[in-house]
Symmetry: D2
Subunit: 370 residues, 4 copies
């Protein structure tokens, strides 16, 4: 009878909880050929040193518009072990039914947690986390790879492990040469590591941005002002296998604070799919000021810095295309040449879209003149 | 030399101002066959008893996502006349160049301002407001109509003019019979008049909702919590003539507070175009709970009240499809009949979409089951 | 060496976390003779059916401006017991060091979780929760009382246990007669129980409002729009003993949604301490309109409904004294009697301050006239 | 009869408008010996090149918590003169009755508007603006001074007048030597002029920060994110004369964006009156981490940068004392010397409180240790 009573209670709590929630999609558009999936592959629960039950990670992911997550509890660091007696697969197993119900892709993962070098490494798409509990860190990584896992280096510039300088160690070269190391976090929690961005481009590593969240997510990213870090995965389908294939083929970009970083072949189409010129014809003449209206349907403010103005006109040097807003760009005719311009080409760099270390995306906004 | 100096200053102030602004589109979708234009046909400036220069009304309209406005300064009530010596067309003339620059459709209008009956009437799409300054109110209305104007009755339930009860007077019948009265405000500033909604349906009048704003618009509608009242005009083109034609043919709905009111033939397609079922297959079985995910891409929270559940299942009785969010609707299999349902049909009324006095829009959400 | 490494990590995580937080005090003023302590005596962790580690409850309490909390995990309902093997005192023990560090008063508590009758009961200020694990619910309650505990009835109107009507059962009379039942929740999570308010006044029970939170707190109370339910405890010192003494002597009021409920002897001084008349002299004359400025320094919007105006003047019938804002109240002289009024007395009821079932606080705002 | 009708209408509009408003006080505390009055002495209306009726400036001032304003329409620049035929005193006269009703101190002012040098100068506390319409700019300034006016130099670094460099001209020296120039704007609208701050200290000029607002105020300062620039006037009474005396005696500081600038003798007591240490006793020992709780009751986030830690302990190097929040400051015992410290002295500079060019306020937070 007590058993019956308990089941009864449980179902009530769950349904009440679900009805109250709503999900805010992350508005970064798909690009030609690919879906733009929003993913976070690094987070913790009470099963290592986190402060929440695994289902909380699924609820947070759903509410915050993610497509896929990996719970990656530490293998070697379990400070709650006096109270929690379970193996390394348990947080995944607890979260899986809720993830299925909500349509969140849950990827099995764990964090191999060592001193530097090699520091902390995440292994995702593994099949059994328990087998990664090894004395030798390299053996743990090899086991993850043997299970079909994708392995990336976490927070390479973490001050606690690399207090002076963010270094690449011979151990990372060893992992790379063995075909084990596939990716690197260039952003973790609140911190950006420019060295990691550089290595990702130089060494062909997949770019990753993670929350590495331990507490409830709202503690770290105030809903009104900020968003959690996200790895954008360019996949052909909204499925786990498709995400894995994209990671193995370096088809990601990262979204952190007000910035995107990634290959130009991904960032250029994201910008194009986000921005639309609303003004049909500018009809600019010499000594005349006109405005071109541009709408941005993404969540990202695009910060534009003018390069060259076209023949016969100048345009505003600094423009912010605010998220989900229409912005006016001022153009002014400055010679009679303007009469011969059927199309105005406004050249800008988008300073918060990073396509290589120290390099921003170059774009051209085109508006019909006559 | 002083002349030069002044022009210089002027251009600086204008361009600085424009660059700082951004426009928030009102997200209510177009419907099959029509654009859904957002309009406010009732507002004031310093040229009658308002507190702002006419250009402010254009800036506000642009920032708040309107397509068209009419400035409707009072003919008979000009409390600033000691300082402002201008005719009744002046506010339009001052606002027009900025409206053209920003792409706001500015419609010439005025307010015929009399005691009740007939109270206050707006005349828009007129050609010369000065000719409406007449002793006889009916002559003023006829002149407006002769100019090709569209005339509607303002705030019919205004407490100051109809303190006890919102009455329809013989004078309104006279205007209606003469083919002069075309529309009626069912919402003005912060107030809703259910009688006006009833008359609009009974007497074939066009529904109008207006801000009737006198002060700066942000004073009355806090940007974070609320929006100005808007007349939705279903037009074939984003042009003044197209708006006029739609008004004359009763193709409007009104958007005020958290509500839409209008004919079902407009509100049903707005709901359909706003809402998308995201769950591909529910796969519901008897004694099982599942969730259907529904996305609402409009600015309006849709408040759903369950009617009948379908054969073999029950669904949540109260659901709010929040604006720009994804919501889960709970369904539960309650008989073996559920196995024979290839499509689940969830019947709801949308209590904040009013299609007739006391009547809400009925909708059916359909989700594939197997 | 591994041990050293682990400690190292732990201290890092804790200090980073603390530095990022800030606390928002709940602005409800102290009253003459008492501090107004903000308390929540009902919440859960992973040690029963909650979703967070006990330290999360302390962090939430600190950030949200609470003085004291009780973690009250269920005795009889522990759905995570497959993974969590600990006794009933464990959540308190884990949370206590952090509570001490942050200055949160942590009160030991538990929830006796039974079918109706008697339903769920909280026991706080107990010394050993393990001893409450009894077959007989009355024995469990008596044990709690014997430990010096304060016992209150949780969510008496919970639909799952009282689906038709909120009833008082003989079992509750038994607890009351035995001197065991001390208080009752009139508000739980999002629900208000008017019957419980009535019983509190009739049967001399202490009023309690609780979050009964299971998930992270931000899931249930959106920081921008709402606050968690709070029991206001009127205590002579900010200490556990002082809170216990206040509870035993019915010195509480409850703060939920936009409302306060409690005895007039507490609510009247809260209103007085929150509100200040800023206008020195009104200098109102007959046929003149003037404004009295009133500042409200509390978190609560006070909703005022006019009763009688004084001799010689009328005043606004509906006034909202917004939280942390100054509001103008309009007064108008309506007879020559106004000349003989040295003080204007504005009589209102504060409709959201409930001093008995169906009864609001009556207040008089006094402003010097001459 | 028409006359009666009009008055009727007018009173309705005014009272409706006032009832809806509320005022948000600017929370910067008074200091010993002085009230801290919040003032803006530079703004425009339709009577020069502004876009609002003068009463709007009073409503804005009241809602935004100001004590005093000056409307300073241009003498030489009146682009609306085709429509508005009034003298230079008119905007003051229109605004005065509403200012009296709302308790806003309205100071008569105007802007002498010339090419650089000397550029634009505000004259406030004058008695008749019409007499300042002179061919010779120096004569206009002398007339203002002869009327008892206080004169300050507006936006000295305005790019349109000083495109290359912010220069001090011989004309300004002439005004200074003649005892006419009393103050200088170091902040105007959105721009800060560090040169002006330097000159204010070097040449004994009163610091001024102004909105110089032309459009409705909400257009330029988003209520959610920002505040208008304010001159803080340290006055003995909330009266016009007292403000004038304070300006003449350099008793001001300026509040712009997230910063205060002014003499240390004003900023130090503002900080002290805003901040309160809540932790009674720290009880820190060697190798122990503790937290000191500090509450900030002002609107300003104080950004603290650690200088030296005291004997026997270290403290957090970077602390933000958030506005209206309690913050924890971490301290750690690092030697046995800590046992001999009855008081912990935490030395910081407050980087956003500027007491001289390039120099921040130094403060010491003291907490009892045992």
């Amino acid at each position: 009878m007590v058993r019956y009573f308990i089941t009864f209670l449980l179902s009530v709590f769950i349904s009440l909880n679900l009805n109250a929630q709503s999900r805010r999609e992350i508005q970064i558009p798909d690009i030609p050929g690919y879906l733009t999936l929003k993913c976070d592959f690094h987070m913790h629960t009470v099963f290592s040193d986190g402060a929440v039950w695994p289902t909380v990670r699924v609820n947070e992911a759903w509410e915050q518009g993610l497509d896929a997550i990996a719970i990656t509890d530490h293998i070697e660091y379990r400070p709650h072990s006096q109270d929690i007696k379970s193996d390394h697969n348990r947080s995944y197993e607890i979260a899986k039914p809720l993830a299925d119900q909500k349509g969140i892709i849950l990827i099995r993962g764990t964090e191999i947690t060592r001193k530097m070098p090699p520091g902390h490494l995440n292994a995702i798409f593994i099949t059994n986390a328990n087998l990664l509990e090894r004395d030798d860190w390299f053996e743990a990584c090899r086991e993850a790879k043997d299970q079909g896992g994708f392995i990336f280096w976490n927070h390479p510039g973490w001050k606690r492990q690399q207090p002076e300088k963010t270094l690449w160690w011979s151990q990372h070269t060893r992992l790379l040469d063995a075909g084990i190391l596939g990716g690197i976090e260039a952003f973790n929690h609140h911190d950006y590591y420019p060295e990691a961005l550089k290595w990702a481009f130089e060494k062909n590593l997949t770019l990753i941005a993670s929350s590495d969240i331990h507490s409830p997510i709202d503690d770290s990213y105030d809903a009104a002002d900020s968003h959690r870090p996200v790895t954008l995965v360019f996949a052909t389908e909204r499925k786990a296998e498709s995400i894995k294939y994209a990671l193995e083929n370096r088809r990601t970009a990262i979204y952190f604070k007000d910035k995107l970083a990634g290959d130009q072949k991904f960032l250029a189409p994201i910008f194009s799919a986000s921005v639309k010129i609303l003004t049909d014809y500018v009809r600019l003449e010499n000594n005349m000021v006109k405005f071109i209206q541009v709408h941005n349907n993404s969540d990202i403010d695009f910060i534009l810095k003018g390069k060259n103005s076209g023949l016969g006109f100048t345009c505003a040097k600094e423009v912010v295309l605010k998220a989900h807003r229409t912005t006016m760009i001022e153009v002014e005719g400055n010679s009679e040449e303007i009469k011969n311009q059927p199309v105005l080409k406004l050249e800008y760099e988008v300073t918060n879209l990073i396509v290589a270390p120290g390099e921003s995306l170059q774009i051209v906004l085109e508006a019909y003149n006559f």
